[in-house]
């Protein structure tokens, strides 16, 4: 620690801190140094010169952001020299900046406006013409008004340092400098929206929010983002009810949480709110009467739902009912959902709609990823990433990994497609989905393949697979690097989770982790997968954590077995499920489908019988458990969710009441939470589970073609799919193409632009006709066709497909 003085006050700071860091740490009571280009998360530019301060014995004022404190230093931030410098810089900043705050969208929340109150003059001596700069079109998310730019370069530094994509730069020189993408194009980064928050003036503002409200008309409510497993903290800005408009969510901005999202937010979390008031939004409960939909009141809808469900149970037993809940639902919703269905005797409950392989589920840990490792990602020096388009799945976790790589960390990847992560990769195994399993087994072989003892205690098919491998140089390299590293991290992504041999991947990665002392982290692509496990929205485990001897059907089996009735919560299975074809068939043949959803779609109107409108995560109350096991509660941001929609937990509670189930008398979500918390404590008691058999090794012929069906970033859930500005960025025609490598194209005798039929490897599967696009990033024997696209329903996101030309 170094002792020094700021404005006569004695303070201490860590050695090597800059004056501005030390002053900020000491708090505003000591001093607030004005700044524009400085941002604690970005590199130092020292170019705005607003933070010039006087240092005793200094020849001239020094920038506080770039000057390190030394012992005994005397700093004056309000002295004549310092104020003179700051005021003069302010006058330079203002000469070319438009002084029309009332018509600027940033007005009221503008750093330049705020500081000009303290450092600006009321009159100007500048009478020359002002500079003006043409605005740029950088996409549907960010509006530009470049004449307002003060060239702080925060946005430029953000793009290259945090987003990993140098999309913005400065063109021109001197007064003619302008921020630009050079060739005009939409910004591609999935973190681009952060430059709106970073911009200290009105040069970069939110396009969807622009001119919709003034900052002082909004009230902020804390919330938790609901589109990835990080649990980013957000502030939801709401405009109060007026005569012309009901209370509305106007925008979402980031809320600082150093442990999770720092000060950033992904575009998906920032702009998903634009889907809230989409035409598909369910405003009132609806029932289908003789094939016709009609809106009705809650009482009627709940009565109809109760009758229908009770009829099915009366005639076919509770075994004929299946319950599927979205892993984006809150812990409370998951808990009530399973409690309600279990009280009816329904055994088939699941949230794992994107999983294909449920083997070994009984052996799964109760709590998936317990390591608090989001913050420590930056210090990790070796990563093994298995099956993940991590940049789209987890934008902010990726930025942490990017930071680690900037410090020299190595990232090894096993993926079916050579996805662009905007970070430096050390090794990549780009192999077919089955090849992924083999690569991992090969790494295991390098690590302990000769140790018969270790292999003998492993499940037989897995030991057999490890023995069969002939590791190549890349696999050797990866193994060696992981072995040599102190604390490597193995990350399993959404593609691993959707993998038809997920159980193999999991056991292999866990075994490797134990061998080398690594941690594993499951990066699920939903907000509350961990919470859904804890709340046991699962067929094989009771809420007290005890496993069920004869478990109900899992999500896949439930759809494959065509039950008589389904209860869906927060889901659009024809988009969200890994088995969209199965889902459509199963739901359409069912006698009774009760849907609790915020949105309706065409298929839903065909298969559903009762539609109950619920709140989205931005309007809801409850809690999410994130990737590192942190449970974050949030309160309702709005007084009333959209129109007649209700918070999901209330709907489930009342459904239970209507069906005469005892014990569902919760008055507030807090009551529910505390009951749940008591159960969660039970959850941690472990139980001895005997080993289970694994499915045998598949026979993979040379002609097998696998599909890589990742969920594109803005097709991930109901709300995002309806966020129009984000949909503009997802060009559906580009996604709805069959991408394959040149070798496979030659093998199949197809060319770029040819139309081919693709179907899942099921005899009755309906083929889909698609255009071929040759793409060198795709592994051999693999085609890439995203999931979650309309009119392209193929079962199994990483399964074998048939292609006919």
């Amino acid at each position: 620690m170094i002792k020094f003085e700021i404005d006569g006050k004695k303070i201490q700071a860590k050695s090597g801190s800059t004056i501005i860091e030390a002053a900020d740490a000491a708090g505003v009571d000591v001093s607030h140094i004005p700044r524009f280009c400085y941002h604690s998360k970005l590199s130092i530019a020292a170019s705005c010169r607003m933070c010039l301060v006087e240092v005793e014995n200094g020849r001239k004022p020094l920038p506080a952001c770039a000057t390190t404190v030394t012992a005994g230093m005397k700093i004056y931030t309000k002295s004549h020299q310092a104020m003179q410098a700051q005021k003069e810089v302010m006058s330079f900043l203002l000469i070319n900046h438009p002084l029309d705050c009332p018509i600027c969208d940033q007005g009221g929340e503008c750093e330049l406006q705020d500081l000009s109150m303290g450092y600006g003059r009321t009159s100007t001596s500048f009478i020359e013409g002002k500079r003006s700069i043409k605005d740029k079109d950088i996409g549907p998310l960010i509006a530009t008004e470049m004449t307002r730019c003060i060239h702080c370069t925060r946005c430029v530094r953000f793009c290259s340092e945090i987003a990993g994509l140098r999309e913005l730069g400065i063109l021109g020189r001197g007064e003619h400098s302008e921020i630009s993408t050079y060739v005009e194009h939409s910004m591609q980064s999935e973190l681009a929206g952060n430059i709106i928050d970073l911009c200290p003036v009105g040069a970069l503002t939110s396009k969807p929010f622009r001119f919709k409200a003034r900052a002082w008309e909004l009230r902020a409510r804390a919330g938790i983002a609901g589109h990835d497993c990080l649990g980013s903290n957000i502030n939801i800005h709401i405009k109060r009810e007026s005569d012309s408009q009901p209370e509305r969510i106007m925008r979402v901005v980031s809320r600082t949480n150093e442990k999770l999202n720092e000060t950033w937010l992904s575009d998906r979390d920032r702009f998903s709110y634009t889907g809230l008031y989409h035409a598909d939004r369910l405003a009132r409960p609806m029932i289908k009467q003789i094939g016709k939909w009609q809106e009705t009141d809650w009482e009627t809808a709940l009565t109809v739902a109760t009758q229908k469900l009770q009829n099915v149970i009366a005639q076919n037993g509770a075994q004929a009912v299946g319950g599927l809940i979205s892993p984006n639902s809150t812990v409370e919703e998951c808990y009530l959902f399973q409690a309600w269905l279990r009280s009816l005797g329904v055994p088939h409950i699941d949230h794992r709609i994107r999983q294909s392989d449920f083997d070994h589920q009984i052996q799964s840990p109760l709590v998936w990823s317990t390591c608090k490792c989001v913050q420590s990602l930056e210090e990790t020096t070796s990563f093994l990433l298995i099956g993940s388009f991590i940049r789209e799945e987890q934008p902010l976790i990726t930025s942490r990994i990017r930071k680690a790589t900037q410090g020299g960390a190595r990232v090894h990847v096993i993926n079916p497609v050579d996805f662009d992560f905007h970070l430096t990769l050390t090794n990549r195994c780009i192999v077919s989905p089955w090849g992924m399993v083999c690569s991992l087994a090969a790494i295991a072989q390098v690590l302990f393949g000769n140790d018969k003892k270790k292999l003998n205690i492993m499940p037989k098919p897995i030991a057999e697979l490890i023995r069969q491998q002939k590791p190549n140089t890349v696999e050797h390299d990866i193994a060696r690097d992981l072995q040599q590293d102190k604390a490597p991290l193995i990350l399993l992504g959404a593609l691993a989770q959707a993998h038809p041999y997920f159980s193999y991947l999991r056991v292999l990665s866990e075994t490797i982790a134990i061998e080398i002392g690594a941690k594993t982290l499951h990066l699920t692509d939903s907000a509350n997968e961990a919470g859904a496990w804890l709340a046991t929205a699962l067929p094989h485990r009771r809420i007290d954590g005890v496993s069920i001897k004869e478990p109900g059907y899992n999500a896949k089996a439930m759809l494959a077995k065509t039950l008589k009735s389904y209860c869906l919560f927060g889901l659009e299975p024809t988009y969200d499920s890994a088995y969209p074809e199965l889902a459509r068939t199963a739901l359409q043949q069912a006698e009774c489908v009760i849907v609790c959803s915020a949105f309706k779609n065409k298929a839903m109107l065909e298969y559903a019988d009762v539609l109950l409108p619920i709140a989205t995560h931005l309007e809801n109350e409850g809690s999410f458990v994130n990737i590192e096991g942190t449970r974050q509660s949030f309160q309702r941001s709005v007084n009333k969710p959209f129109a007649e929609a209700r918070c999901g937990w209330k709907v489930l509670r009342v459904l239970a009441n209507f069906m005469g189930r005892p014990g569902f008398d919760y008055q507030t979500v807090l009551e529910l939470s505390s009951e749940l918390s008591r159960n969660l404590e039970n959850d941690l008691q472990s139980e001895h589970i005997p080993p289970v058999d694994f499915k045998p090794l598949p026979t993979v012929s040379d002609n097998t073609v696998w599909r890589c069906g990742y969920w594109p970033i803005y097709r991930n859930d109901s709300l995002v799919r309806r966020a129009e500005p984000l949909q503009v960025l997802t060009v559906e025609q580009d996604l709805a193409k069959l991408r394959l490598g040149a070798a496979l194209a030659t093998h199949l005798k197809v060319n770029n632009g040819d139309r081919v039929s693709v179907s899942s490897d099921h005899p009755d599967a309906k083929p889909v006709t698609l255009q071929v696009l040759i793409d060198q990033r795709i592994a051999d024997a693999t085609v890439c066709l995203p999931s979650g696209l309309p009119d392209i329903a193929i079962n199994g996101p990483l399964s074998v497909v048939r292609i006919t030309t």
Binding site: I44, A45, A46, S47, C48, R49, M50, L52, R59, K60, P61, P63, A66, A85, E88, V89, S91, F92, L93, I95, N96, S125, F126, I127, E128, G129, R131, I150, H151, G169, I170, G172, R173, G174, E175, H176, S177
Partner: protein, 427 residues
């Protein structure tokens, strides 16, 4: 007085740039001697310190001291850079060195590299120096052929590779850290200092940057001895200096004369003020240095300390002479317009101030000046000076402040009468 004895010592020969001619004046002899006799680098550094050689690029920093900042023993890559960006208006000396005596620069760089322990050097030329670039490329090729460059120079075990790099025409790339950024392939934006290049230079590694004339002086210092060189000029102002004299003189050009020569003597060498006019003002060190009235200059010697005492600086040694018919408002407008165009735009005071100053002066020149404009001008210049990352801020502020200091009446006349005092008098 001895002319052309350091950097221009081959000038009197036909094809002065050839290797043969350079050798005929003792070229590469010093390098050979150092390597053959294994003279310790510390000895050479001591000679350079004794010679009182100061940076010829403008700042006049003692070269020996600068070299001693680079920690020679550090077991990491270090770089030597020669700055031939020469962008300062009025300056054209480095260009002549490159055209007339490129081998001397190369020898100087190899010796510097030997002293500093650097194995890689970059020679950064401004984008417009295409011919000079070609000549240096040829010279480097010859030096490689003769074994003066490359691995194991003359069998001594010393390595040094030298590369020419061309800039893209930005004045600011003459600033050493902007130059480094430019070599790295980035935008020519000066870096905030500290850290200085000696610790964090090219690619983040220790780097020494010297001006062309500085490096080209080294072989001659070693040939004739540090004392000889130091005695050429005055105390702390060793050696001779190339002065690029331009403006209203009869024979503008580059003259290499000892430091400390009176300005009046140089003016005589350059043939005196043209058309028998009287001298009005002189900018003694390139357009960014403060202007001095002609009468003051006539009493001043041309060295770092004398000019500093007189209220200006030696700078690059580019002397711009203005006769009595020069409109000082117009002259300042020309200067500020240059800096307005060349400001890199990184820091606020310079980016915004350069445009403001230029517009204001042009308005005064056009007869649209208002009372209070001069105070405003003074205020803007003060606001820029000392508030920027690099010395470019001073390059705008100093001319403005010095023109106002010495020729304020002319500016006031412009504002009051809406026209030029000089033009009115000539009429």
């Amino acid at each position: 007085m001895q002319h052309n004895i350091v950097c221009f010592r081959t000038r009197h020969l036909d094809q002065p740039w050839s290797l043969e001619n350079y050798r005929s004046v003792g070229g590469y002899k010093q390098l050979e001697r150092i390597l053959n006799d294994k003279i310790p680098p510390e000895h050479i550094l001591e000679r350079i310190k004794q010679s009182a050689l100061r940076g010829r690029g403008g700042a006049g920093f003692p070269t020996g001291l600068k070299w001693s900042f680079l920690s020679r023993g550090k077991p990491i890559q270090k770089y030597l850079i020669c700055n031939s960006d020469e962008g300062e208006p009025g300056t054209c000396k480095d260009h002549d060195i490159l055209m007339l005596n490129p081998h001397q620069l190369i020898e100087g760089m190899i010796i510097a590299a030997y002293v500093l322990g650097t194995t890689v050097g970059y020679h950064y030329l401004r984008g417009e120096f295409w011919h000079a670039f070609q000549r240096c490329e040829q010279a480097i090729k010859e030096a490689y052929q003769e074994g003066y460059l490359g691995k194991n120079i003359l069998g001594s075990g010393v390595d040094f590779d030298l590369y020419n790099t061309l800039g893209a025409g930005a004045y600011i790339c003459g600033e050493e850290t902007a130059l480094i950024e430019s070599i790295e392939g980035k935008r020519g934006w000066p870096r905030f200092k500290p850290p200085f290049p000696a610790n964090y230079g090219l690619y983040g590694l220790p780097t020494t940057i010297n001006n062309t004339e500085t490096l080209a002086s080294v072989p001659v210092i070693l040939q004739h001895g540090a004392k000889w060189f130091a005695h050429l000029g005055g105390k702390e102002n060793g050696g001779s200096k190339i002065f690029s004299i331009s403006g209203h003189v009869n024979q503008p050009g580059n003259y290499e004369i000892p430091l400390g020569t009176p300005f009046s003597e140089l003016l005589n060498i350059a043939g005196g003020v043209w058309k028998n006019a009287r001298i009005k003002a002189v900018i003694p060190g390139g357009s960014s240095m403060p202007v001095l009235p002609g009468e003051v200059m006539k009493r001043t010697r041309l060295d770092y300390d004398s000019l500093s005492k007189a209220g200006s600086m030696l700078g690059t040694g580019a002397i711009i002479v203005m006769d009595e018919h020069t409109c000082m408002v117009n002259a300042l407008a020309c200067i500020t317009e240059f800096y307005y165009e060349e400001s890199c735009g990184q820091c606020t005071p310079c980016r915004e101030g350069s445009g403001w100053v230029t517009r204001l002066i042009k308005r005064i020149e056009a007869g649209q000046g208002k009372p209070g404009d001069l105070d405003c001008l003074e205020q803007i210049a003060k606001g820029i000076e000392g508030r920027t990352i690099c010395a470019f801020g001073e390059a705008i502020a100093w001319p403005v402040r010095s023109f106002l200091k010495h020729f304020r009446a002319e500016f006031e006349y412009h504002i009051e009468h809406g026209c030029c005092q000089v033009a009115a008098r000539v009429r």
